[in-house]
Symmetry: C3
Subunit: 326 residues, 3 copies
C-alpha cells in the first residue's frame, strides 16, 4: 500500500538527487527522471530504492528499481537493471532523498489547518462533542462519534460505526469500520527515528501511515506512531488496553489481545491470535508468531515461533520460567 | 455497595432471562420476577447471581439468590433455595443478563449530555477553568477546583475540598473529601473486559464504579477503570504518582504509596500501608497483604502475605533477591 | 541557578523560623534576619540551609550559611560560622521553613490566571491553535508553535523556534531554543514528594523548575516533574520518546537518547551520550556515567560508571547478561 496522504513532489531529475546525496560522478544515465522512492520490493523501474543490510539481499536481487542507494560491499547483489549509488551512510542518504519527494512528512507541528467540525459538512453526519477540530483531507463514515476536545488532524479516513473518545489526537491514519479509540490517545505522529548527531540530531521523514482495521479497540492514553517507509498496522479485531505504546512500522495481527502498559518497539511484527500480558516489552525488528502468549512483565528480545508461550526477561518458555522461579 | 449510577431496567420475568441465556427448559419456577443481578454474597432472594469457580464455593453455599447461572459440575454446591441455571459459558451468560438489567453500562462513548459548567448551578460554587464540561447526575461539594478542558461526565459525586487538574476526564466515580486528581487522567471508563471471539469480541458490561476515598492523590496521566460487577476502590490517604494504570475491580488499602508507571491488573486487592516502587506490575486476582513493600520494577505474580518486602520478577523476598544479585 | 519563578516572601526573623520548627530555646543569635533557604553549597551568610545525611558532610564543612537545620549527630560537621538548629525530623522542618519562604510553591491546582493567547500580546508573535491558554509571567521567543488546547501556565520561558504540540500543559519551566514538546505532556508539576503521615500525608514544597536545553525533543504523553530544592534538567540535544516519566530533580546530560516508557526516579543524574532502551527504569538518587548504554527493560538499582553497557534486572554488564541468558 503506497502512502495515500503525503504529496509526492516528484518526479526529479536523477542528477538533482545525486547532488543531494553528494555523488558528483555524472555518468551517462540512461534514464533521467525518477518518480518515487520505494522499498526494494515495491519500487518500479521509474523509482529509486535503497539497500542497507544483507538481510534483504533476496529482495535486492529482484528489485525493479532503476537506482539503488547502497554501499560498496552490497552493490554486487543488485541486478543489472539497477544502478547502484554508493554512499557512506545509506539511511542518511535515503532520508535526504525521501525528504526531497515528501517534504511535508517532516513537519509534525500541530495542524493549523483544522477548523471546528460544526463549520464543516461533517456536522450533520457525525455525533460530536464540544471543541472538536477537523483538518484537511478527512473523511468520516456513517454513525460515528467523536468526543470533546478531540482533534482529527489532516489526512485521516474514518470508516462507519467508529467511536473516538475525548481529548484524542489523530493524523495520517486510516480507521476501518467499527473501530473504537478511547480518550487521550495520540495516533499517527512520527516515530522516534532520527540520526544521532552531536549538538543537533537529524530527524528522518516518516511517510507511512497508521492503519487500524475493523473491530479494533484502542485503550486510553495509547500512542501509536506512523510508519517511516512502510505502515504501522493493527489488524482486525485486535484489542489494546490502556497506556500502550506502539512504535513506527509495527504490524500486529488479527484477534490479538494486548494488556495495559505494553510497549512494542519499532518494526516488530506480531502474529494473529497473540496474547500479551501487562507491561511486557518487545524489542524492535522482531517476529512474533501466531498464537503466541507472552506473560505479563516479559521482556522479549528474540523472535518467537508460532504456538509458543513465553515469560521472563529475557522471555523464555513459560514452563521453564515458572519451574526456575517456584 | 450497590451501584448508585446505572439505571436498573428490571424486574424481568425469569422466562425472559432464560431465553437470553439459551435455556429452553421451562420448569415450573416458583418465582417469576427477578429484580437484580448481584454477586453470590450480595444477592437477595429477589435476585439472580452467578457462580463460576470452586474458589467461591463457600459463598455459593450461603447465597440467598433465587437463581444462579452456573455449570453442571458446580451446581451441587448451591443451597436448596437457589435454582441452578446450567449454561456452557457462565461468564458470557452472566454478561448477557447483566446487559439486560443495565444496558447503559455498555456504552462508553463520549458523554454527549455534558454542558459547560458556566451554564449550570455549579458555576457559583466551584472554581473552574476554561472549557470545563459537566454531565448529568454530577454533584460537587464546597471549595473545589476543576482545571481547564476537564470533563466531569455523567454519574460523578465529588466531595469537599477536591482539586481536579486540567484535561482530566471522569465518569461513574465517587471522590470523597480532599481528593486531588492531577492533569490528563481518565477515571471511570470500562475495564479491559470482553469475551474474545474471532472476528468480533464481545464486551461485557461494567456496572461498578470508581471510589476514591478521603485525602487521596492521583498523579498525572493515570487511568483508573471502573469495576465490572464490584467497584474499583482506592482507600483513604493513598497517593499515586504519574502514569499509573489501575484496572477494573482493584482495591487498594489506606495510607499506601505507589510510585510512577506502576500497573495493577484486574481484581487484585492491595492492603493498607503498602509501598510499591516505580514500574512494578501486579498480576490480576492477587492478594497483597498489609504493610507490604514491593521494590521498583518488580513483577508480582503470586499473593504476598502481610509485613513482607519483595523484589524481582517474579517478586521474591527482597533479601534473597539482593543476595542473588550482588 | 536559583529559582526565577517563585516569590521569596522573606526575609524573616530567625525567631519566627525557630517557632515554625518547634525550637523554643532563644539564644542570643548574632544575626536576626534570614533572607532565603538554600542547599549547603549555594547558601550565603544571609541564608538558612539543611544537612540531613553524612553523604553531604564535605559540603556541610564549607557551607557559608548562618543557620543549618540538622540533627544532634550531624551538627559537629558544621563550621563555626553556622549555627546548628537541631530537630527531630530534618526534612520535615526544612519543608516547613521552605513553605514559609515560598508559600506559592505548594499550590499545584490548575492555573486560574490563564487567558486565551489571542487576548495577549503574544498573539502576533506565536503560531497558535484553538483554545490556547497562557498564564502570568510567560515569555515566548520568535518563530514558535503552540498546538490546540495546550496550556502554558504561569512561570514559563520559551526560547526561539520551539514547537509545542496539542493538549500539553507546562508550568515553572524554561525551554531554550529549538525545543520540541509533543502532544499530551505535563511538564513542571510538583514531584511525588511528601511526608507519609497516616490519615493525611504532608506535601513538601517544590521550589525548583524544569529546564530543557537547546534542541531537545520530548515525546507524547511525557510527564516531567519540577525539582524540589534543585532543578530537573534535560541538557542539549537529548531526545525522549513517548510515555516517559522523569521525576523531580533528575538531571539528564547532553546528546542522550531515551526510548519509550522509560521511567527515571527522583534525583538521579544521567550523563552525556547515554542511550536507554524502552521500558527501562532507573531508581532514585543514582549516578549514571557518560556514554552508558542501558538495554531495554532493564532495572537499574546501582550507579553505573562511564562507558559501560548494561542490561537486566538488576542491570549488570550486558555481555554477562546475554551469556547467562542464551
Amino acid at each position: 500500500m503506497s502512502n495515500p496522504f503525503f504529496l509526492n513532489h516528484g518526479p526529479f531529475d536523477i542528477l538533482d538527487l545525486l547532488k543531494i546525496i553528494g555523488i558528483s560522478d555524472k555518468k551517462n544515465y540512461s534514464q533521467k527522471k525518477v518518480f518515487d522512492i520505494k522499498d526494494l520490493v515495491n519500487a518500479s523501474n521509474k523509482d529509486i530504492t535503497f539497500f542497507h543490510s544483507k538481510k534483504y539481499k533476496d529482495f535486492a536481487k529482484n528489485t525493479k528499481a532503476s537506482f539503488c542507494i547502497t554501499s560498496d560491499s552490497l552493490k554486487s547483489e543488485l541486478p543489472r537493471n539497477c544502478i547502484p549509488l554508493v554512499v557512506e551512510n545509506i539511511l542518511l542518504s535515503t532520508s535526504k532523498v525521501t525528504a526531497k519527494f515528501y517534504p511535508e512528512s517532516l513537519n509534525d507541528n500541530f495542524d493549523d489547518t483544522t477548523i471546528n467540525i460544526s463549520e464543516t459538512k461533517l456536522k450533520d453526519k457525525v455525533k460530536f462533542g464540544k471543541n472538536v477540530l477537523v483538518g484537511k483531507n478527512v473523511s468520516i463514515g456513517s454513525n460515528c462519534f467523536i468526543g470533546h476536545n478531540s482533534i482529527v488532524e489532516k489526512n485521516v479516513s474514518i470508516g462507519n460505526n467508529c467511536s473516538i473518545g475525548s481529548s484524542t489526537i489523530i493524523r495520517n491514519t486510516i480507521l476501518k469500520d467499527n473501530v473504537k479509540i478511547l480518550d487521550n490517545c495520540v495516533i499517527g505522529k512520527h516515530g522516534f527515528g532520527f540520526f544521532p548527531i552531536n549538538s543537533k540530531n537529524l530527524r528522518y521523514p516518516h511517510i507511512g501511515i497508521v492503519l487500524i482495521e475493523e473491530n479494533c479497540e484502542i485503550g486510553c492514553g495509547a500512542t501509536i506512531d506512523r510508519g517511516s517507509m512502510s505502515n504501522t498496522v493493527i489488524a482486525k479485531n485486535t484489542y489494546l488496553d490502556n497506556q500502550i505504546h506502539i512504535a513506527h512500522n509495527v504490524k500486529i495481527g488479527e484477534n490479538s489481545i494486548i494488556a495495559g502498559q505494553v510497549g512494542i518497539a519499532g518494526s516488530s511484527i506480531i502474529g494473529n491470535n497473540v496474547k500479551i500480558g501487562g507491561q511486557a516489552g518487545i524489542s524492535g525488528h522482531l517476529k512474533i508468531g501466531n498464537n503466541v502468549e507472552i506473560g505479563g512483565g516479559s521482556g522479549v528480545i528474540r523472535d518467537i515461533p508460532d504456538n509458543t508461550k513465553v515469560m521472563g526477561y529475557p522471555a523464555k518458555n513459560i514452563r521453564e520460567f515458572l519451574k526456575e522461579n517456584k
